[in-house]
Assembly symmetry: C2
Homo-oligomer: 240 residues x 2
């Protein structure tokens, strides 16, 4: 038995998806796309002791407001592995787009770790579709956001599990935002009713808990809202 269409749960007939949800613009929009596609969504968030833990609160609010079936937060400590400005406080967060190549905010193998947990949960849920907000246009050049990486992960995933090998479940890594600009992502989200005031992007919040407005993640967000011709509700104070 092989599935090529979005997988329906064998007992209930419902289409289930695991959605990686960081609480930022891209993952929140991805969740909206998956919901609009008719999936029962299972949101997965990670507390990896990232500097900007505030995003976890955002993910919690988004998951609740958007009505996911379940929201699971997995905890582990990436500070012990280090190698990133997001997990090692001795490495500075780059500001104002200085520096070349893949920036210091890259976290070693982060998406591989995230997708691996998503794969485990998808197997238990018998959900063939794993959604990730990866983007290869307005992005920092992280290698694990590129299409060739996602394709390779998908191939590996289909050899990795009991559900795929014995149960005929075909996993698909879905990245519906992969080729969109940040402005296109935001327009799509607004069309789908996303409340971006719930989201969080900044890597390096101020002591007062506000976005720094200078890190890559803030700059991409600003550019997106500007080019979409929309005010960012997080900044306009529409919501505390």
């Amino acid at each position: 038995m092989t599935y090529t269409e979005p997988h329906k749960h064998k007992e209930t007939g419902v289409r289930r998806a695991v959605v990686l949800l960081s609480g930022g613009v891209d993952s929140t929009t991805t969740l909206a796309v998956a919901m609009a596609d008719g999936y029962d969504c299972y949101a997965l968030t990670f507390n990896y002791h990232q500097r900007h833990k505030r995003e976890i609160e955002a993910a919690r609010r988004v998951a609740e407001q958007m009505g996911v079936k379940r929201h699971l937060i997995i905890n582990f400590d990436m500070r012990e592995i280090g190698g990133s400005a997001l997990t090692d406080k001795t490495i500075e967060i780059p500001k104002d787009h200085h520096g070349e190549g893949i920036p210091a905010t890259y976290v070693p193998a982060r998406n591989t770790i995230f997708l691996s947990f998503a794969l485990a949960w998808a197997e238990v849920l018998y959900a063939g579709d794993i959604f990730i907000g990866a983007n290869a246009v307005d992005f920092s050049g992280y290698p694990d956001c590129r299409p060739e990486y996602l394709k390779a992960f998908e191939e590996m995933a289909n050899l990795a599990t009991k559900a795929s090998v014995e149960g005929g479940l075909r996993f698909r890594i879905r990245a519906p935002l992969l080729y969109l600009t940040k402005a296109e992502i935001i327009k799509k989200g607004i069309e789908l009713g996303v409340d971006y005031s719930l989201t969080w992007s900044c890597y390096d919040p101020t002591p007062e808990g506000l976005p720094c407005q200078k890190c890559d993640s803030c700059l991409f967000r600003q550019k997106g809202f500007r080019e979409a011709g929309v005010e960012d509700p997080l900044l306009s104070g529409r919501r505390p």
Copy 2:
């Protein structure tokens, strides 16, 4: 810059490897092989809230006795994902080889999660080689121990990281025991001076903390020692 030979650290010239170490016969022997190959070994163990947490203590003793450079234990809770007799106490551990196909002790995407963390650490250490004690002969048929799976993971890994994409580091997933019988593994380990009294295999220890002697892991261990013509030092009471 591309590396096809075992990678040497660019600053120190030393060959580093990350070795997955569960504390069982296979991973301990794999560590011995990597040490004998001249690697500086960085052992990685997981506390995923497995039923047989005792193996973590075994890993600790093995890592210390064998002189690894560092031993890192990563904690996360796979009980929230479930789907395995090793992480869900309501699922029974199969005994005496009953049942067909991939057994209930299979843990969803476990090796994918383990290897993903190993990849992250290997990137930070600039270590090209990741050792895993996977075996495809005397094994339970877990899909993520098969050569085709390991190959696919390796391909994905080489697209996943900054070190591979920008730094020219070539990752290799090394499974030196892949085609050996359990008896051959034990003979090799003894040749390399492994003290198997330090290791732990049982999935379902008795209340007194002894191996159950009936789970798959115990049975494979018994078969291995029997066919190798060696007494299991864990059972012979050579050590408390």
